[in-house]
Amino acid sequence: MIEIIFYGRGGQGVVVASKTLAEALFYEGKYVQSFPAFGGERRGAPVKAFLRADNKVIRRRSLIYRADHAVILDDTLFDEVPIRDEVTGAHSIVINSASPPGRFVEIGAACIGTVDANAIAENLGLGTPVMPMVNSTMLGAFAKVSRMVDIKSLAHAIQKNISVKPDDNISGAGRAYDEIKESKGDIHGQA
C-alpha cells in the first residue's frame, strides 16, 4: 500500500488534489481511498489531505502519519507545520517553490522535486495572483517525480474533477511535468 499526504492552505484545493489523483489511479485499476484531515477548514490556514492506493481492497481507516510520497502546495508551510516528521524517508516529495530542490535536501527523501507552480498557475490564469490555484499543476509534478501515475490518466481525472478551466488546469499539470527539477538524494539527506 502507498500512502500520500498533501499539504496546503485552506482555499488551495488540497482536498480536490487528493480526490483527483485518486480518480487517476482508479482509472489505472488501483484501489484508492482519499480523505481530508477532518476538521473545520479556514482560508489560508494549514490543511492536509490523504490518499491511499493499493492493488487490493484498502481496509485501514486511520489517518496517515508517515508518507511514502508528499505533495506540498506551499513552501512556507515548513515554518508552521511539522511536515518533516511525517515525510522524512519518503520515496518522493514535490514542493511548490521557486527555490531549487537542493534547498530541501536535508529533509531526507529518495527524490525531491521543486517547481514554481505559482508562476505556471498565474501565467495560465488559474486562481488569482494573490492565491494562484496550483493543485492540478502540482499533480503534474507528482506524476513526473513519483512515476506512480500516467499523465494521461491525470488529465482525464482533472477534466472530470475540476469544473473551472479544466483545460488550463491540464496545461498546468503538463507544464509542471516538463519543468520540475529533481534532486536525487538518499534517505539520509545527501544529495
Binding site: 485518486a22 484508492v32 477532518f38 481507516r61 486511520s62
Partner: protein, 384 residues
C-alpha cells in the same frame, strides 16, 4: 459500474435508487452533504421527491413521520446534536409503526464542542424502538439504504443506518452502483396497510388505555425480534440480486480464535489488517463486527463466540457511570451461557481519537496478557 464516492454520496445514491418520495432536511456536520446531494437531484429532476426544508431536527422527524403516515417512502438524515434533538419524535415514529429510513452520520455529542466521530449519538438512542444497522464501508452504506426499506416496510418499524462521521462520510473510495432495474426488482413500491387519506379518513395515535398501550409495546418487541429472521431472508435475496450480502454479524478469522475483538462500524475494517498481522505471528485472534445492533442478535453472538476465551470490545461510546455501551450489550448476551468468555471493555476513539492499527494491536496484546479486568474498562486515549 464502479465510481468513486464518499460515504455520504453513497447514501444519497441509495436513496435515489430506492425511489424515495419525501425527504426532509436540516443541515448538520458531518451529515449535510447527504441531503445537499439529494437537493441537487430533486432540483435537477433526476429524483422525483418532495424535498422539505424544515426549521429543526425535531420538526424534521415530525415531518418525516407525518409524510410516512400518508403511505409514501420517506427519508431524512442527521448527526449528533440533531439526532439528540429528534429524541422525542423517534419514539413517535416507531410507536406509530412507520417504515422510515434515516441515516445518522455519527459524531460526538457536546459539551465540549466536537465535530469528530464517536458513536455516542446513535447508541444513546438505542431504546427508541428503531432498528440500528452500522456500516463499515461506503459500499455497505449504499446497499444498506436499499435493504433497509425492504426491511422496514416488511416489519413496519423505522430503521436507523449509522456510518462513521468523516471516516466514511468524507472519504472517497470505489463503490459499485447497482442498476435501477435490479433495485426495482428487489424493492417494490411501498404499499401502506394503513394511511392518512382524506377520502378514507382514519386517525393515528389516539389516546390508548393502559392495556392497549402495553399490548402495543409487546407487539413492537415481538416484531423487532422478528426482524432478525426477515433480515436473514432478505439478505439471501439481496445476495442473489446484487452479489453482495452483509448479514447480522461479520465474522473474520473466528474459526479457532481464542481472543476476539468486537466492534461496530468502520473501525472493524482497520482491525482486519491487525488480525492478519497477528495471525501471521501465530496468534489465535479474530474479529466480530456487530452490524445489526437493534434488535441485538444475542443468540447469534453466543453461537459465534463459542470456544472463545477472551473478548476485547471496542467501545466508542460510554454511558458515564456504567461503562462502554457495546460491552454492556455483549456481556448481557453472554450472561448465563454455559461457556462464557471473559469480556474486556476498551473505551477509545471518543470525540475523534484516531483508532490506528497500532492501538488495536496494543488492545489485542493487553487482552491476551491482562491479569485484571476493571469493570470501568480500560481507557485508551492515545492513538499510537
Amino acid at each position: 459500474m464502479k465510481k468513486l464516492l464518499t460515504g455520504n454520496q453513497a447514501f444519497s445514491q441509495g436513496v435515489k435508487l430506492a425511489r424515495v418520495r419525501v425527504i426532509t432536511a436540516f443541515p448538520i456536520t458531518p451529515q449535510t452533504s447527504v441531503v445537499e446531494e439529494l437537493a441537487k437531484m430533486c432540483a435537477a429532476g433526476t429524483l422525483q421527491a418532495k424535498f422539505i426544508r424544515v426549521e429543526s431536527e425535531h420538526s424534521s422527524m415530525a415531518c418525516t413521520a407525518a409524510a410516512s403516515m400518508t403511505g409514501v417512502r420517506t427519508f431524512t438524515a442527521t448527526s449528533s446534536h440533531g439526532l439528540a434533538y429528534m429524541h422525542e419524535m423517534l419514539h413517535w415514529a416507531s410507536g406509530s409503526r412507520l417504515p422510515i429510513v434515516m441515516v445518522n452520520v455519527s459524531r460526538a455529542i457536546g459539551a465540549p464542542w466536537s465535530i469528530w466521530f464517536d458513536q455516542s449519538d446513535s447508541l444513546s438512542q438505542r431504546d427508541t424502538g428503531w432498528l440500528q444497522i452500522y456500516c463499515a464501508t461506503n459500499q455497505e452504506c449504499l446497499d444498506t439504504v436499499i435493504h433497509a426499506y425492504r426491511l422496514a416496510e416488511t416489519i413496519l418499524l423505522p430503521v436507523m443506518i449509522v456510518s462513521d462521521g468523516f471516516i466514511l462520510s468524507h472519504t472517497v473510495e470505489p463503490v459499485e452502483l447497482p442498476t435501477q432495474q435490479d433495485v426495482d426488482a428487489f424493492l417494490r413500491p411501498y404499499v401502506a396497510k394503513y394511511k392518512l387519506d382524506p377520502k378514507d379518513p382514519h386517525v393515528f395515535n389516539i389516546l390508548a388505555g393502559p392495556e392497549d398501550f402495553m399490548g402495543m409495546r409487546r407487539i413492537s418487541q415481538e416484531d423487532m425480534e422478528g426482524a432478525v429472521t426477515v433480515l436473514k431472508e432478505t439478505d439471501t435475496e439481496f445476495q442473489k440480486t446484487f452479489g453482495r450480502s452483509y448479514g447480522l454479524l461479520e465474522a473474520y478469522g473466528l474459526e479457532d480464535a481464542e481472543t476476539v475483538m468486537i466492534g461496530l462500524g468502520a473501525t472493524c475494517e482497520t482491525a482486519k489488517d491487525v488480525v492478519d498481522d497477528l495471525r501471521q505471528k501465530g496468534m489465535k485472534v479474530g474479529l466480530l463486527r456487530v452490524r445489526l445492533f437493534r434488535p441485538f442478535p444475542a443468540e447469534e453472538i453466543k453461537q459465534v463466540l463459542y470456544g472463545t476465551k477472551r473478548v476485547a470490545v471496542i467501545d466508542r461510546a460510554v454511558s458515564i457511570g456504567a461503562g462502554g455501551i457495546l460491552s454492556q450489550e455483549i456481556k448481557q448476551a453472554l450472561f448465563n451461557t454455559e461457556y462464557m468468555p471473559e469480556v474486556f471493555s476498551f473505551i477509545t476513539g471518543l470525540g475523534g481519537v484516531d483508532v490506528t492499527p497500532e492501538l488495536l494491536n496494543r488492545i489485542f496484546l493487553q487482552t491476551m496478557e491482562a491479569s485484571e479486568n476493571p469493570t470501568k474498562g480500560f481507557w485508551m486515549e492515545a492513538s499510537s
